[in-house]
Symmetry: C2
Subunit: 207 residues, 2 copies
DNA sequence: TAGATTGTTAATCGATTAACAATC
DNA sequence: TAGATTGTTAATCGATTAACAATC
């Protein structure tokens, strides 16, 4: 909780604004407007202006927003000024794909270390990531000062490992298992990635 | 669009109800109530009853919901009575992880075929999935009668391949690239999976 | 200056929740 | 029967949008 309790749905749109601004910036565009941004994102200009105005005035009447300044401002609001190191829990198929995925870089994250219980995997390297024994979870997370974890263990262990992560002081968990985790709301933020929930939403409209 | 235009946010909760009911069912539970379901999902009982009542009365006053019946009803509403074959576009790291992922089975999907442009990959098998030349996209999709695609190609090709998918008659795209796709709303449903958007949402609350 | 676009208020729209009669 | 819980209506809450004065 920061500032004066800004609605979560507003916060959830800021990363979308950010990636769109970064794309414009990469194309050499230096200025934009709520109208242009809205067209790119399928969001009304009024909503974009309203969202941004929660955090102050970033634009100039008549000429819109200076992209580099707005990018820096949103990054700062989202605490992306520095890079967050990330732990990947589980070195199975999903964990390995995440370890090898380069999309984290330049967007505020760096995947640093992996954990697994399989002696065959412990000690190996996957991409740039060392695989540690999950028995040393707490100790290693403290050593690397990691607050963000990607949970990619087998379903049956999801809740148990999540409990350990909370114990170890992790503050944000991105849950790749289809298990609905129960964690203390005041200690950790949890979000889930379950592609099948999204597919099932879409099949409603098909046929 | 089906029935009498039920809000999308209601539809998006049905898959969550379904997976929770399936988990209860697997544990041998045969009956539940909006109160119990709400506690498991962190949703108010009133909302669950309201959501379900869009589609008719599934419960019995005084005793709640018969789980097998409710599961079948929700499956049917979401068009999950039969299995949807799925095409994975791009046999890179993410595409391969998806091809090997077994979580689709039993939840209404079956990943059937892969596409790539790399001659080294074409003709190979990844798990049970044959890799086809993306040049034959349209023809193969028609042959296998596939309406659902997972898009996991390099960023730079995302929009171009999405256009081809629409052309080929795909009706639902789950977009694993961080690119915001522009597709005709009346021809295809698109949803995105970008883990970094979710991580950036959470970092707002950290520190 | 004239045109464009912001930031903000008020109006509208939609979603959630509380409450309760109906009834198993 | 008494207790529990649904389905539904009405009240509340929150989010989106329209409108416009301010001003670059």
């Amino acid at each position: 909780m920061a500032e004066k309790n800004i609605p979560s749905i507003v916060i959830s749109r800021l990363p979308k604004y950010l990636i769109t601004l970064e794309r414009l910036s990469a194309m050499g565009v230096e200025n934009t407007s709520s109208g242009e941004l809205g067209a790119l994102l399928n969001i009304t200009p009024a909503q974009i202006r309203k969202d941004l105005s929660f955090f102050g005035g970033f634009g100039k009447k008549g000429s819109g927003y200076a992209i580099p300044h707005l990018i820096n401002s949103i990054r700062s609001i989202l605490n992306l000024d520095s890079v967050w190191d990330v732990a990947i829990i589980g070195a199975g198929k999903i964990g390995q794909a995440l370890a090898l995925y380069e999309g984290f870089l330049n967007r505020g994250f760096s995947n640093k270390i992996l954990f697994d219980a399989d002696p065959q995997k412990i000690g190996q390297k996957i991409g740039n990531c060392q695989v540690f024994d999950i028995k040393n979870l707490k100790e290693k997370l403290r050593e690397y000062d990691i607050k963000v974890a990607l949970l990619a263990v087998p379903q049956v262990h999801a809740q148990e490992v999540a409990d350990q992560l909370v114990q170890a002081g992790i503050k944000a968990i991105l849950n790749y298992t289809p298990v609905y985790l129960t964690c203390p709301n005041d200690e950790v933020y949890v979000q889930q990635i379950d592609p099948i929930l999204q597919l099932q939403h879409m099949t409603y409209y098909l046929k």
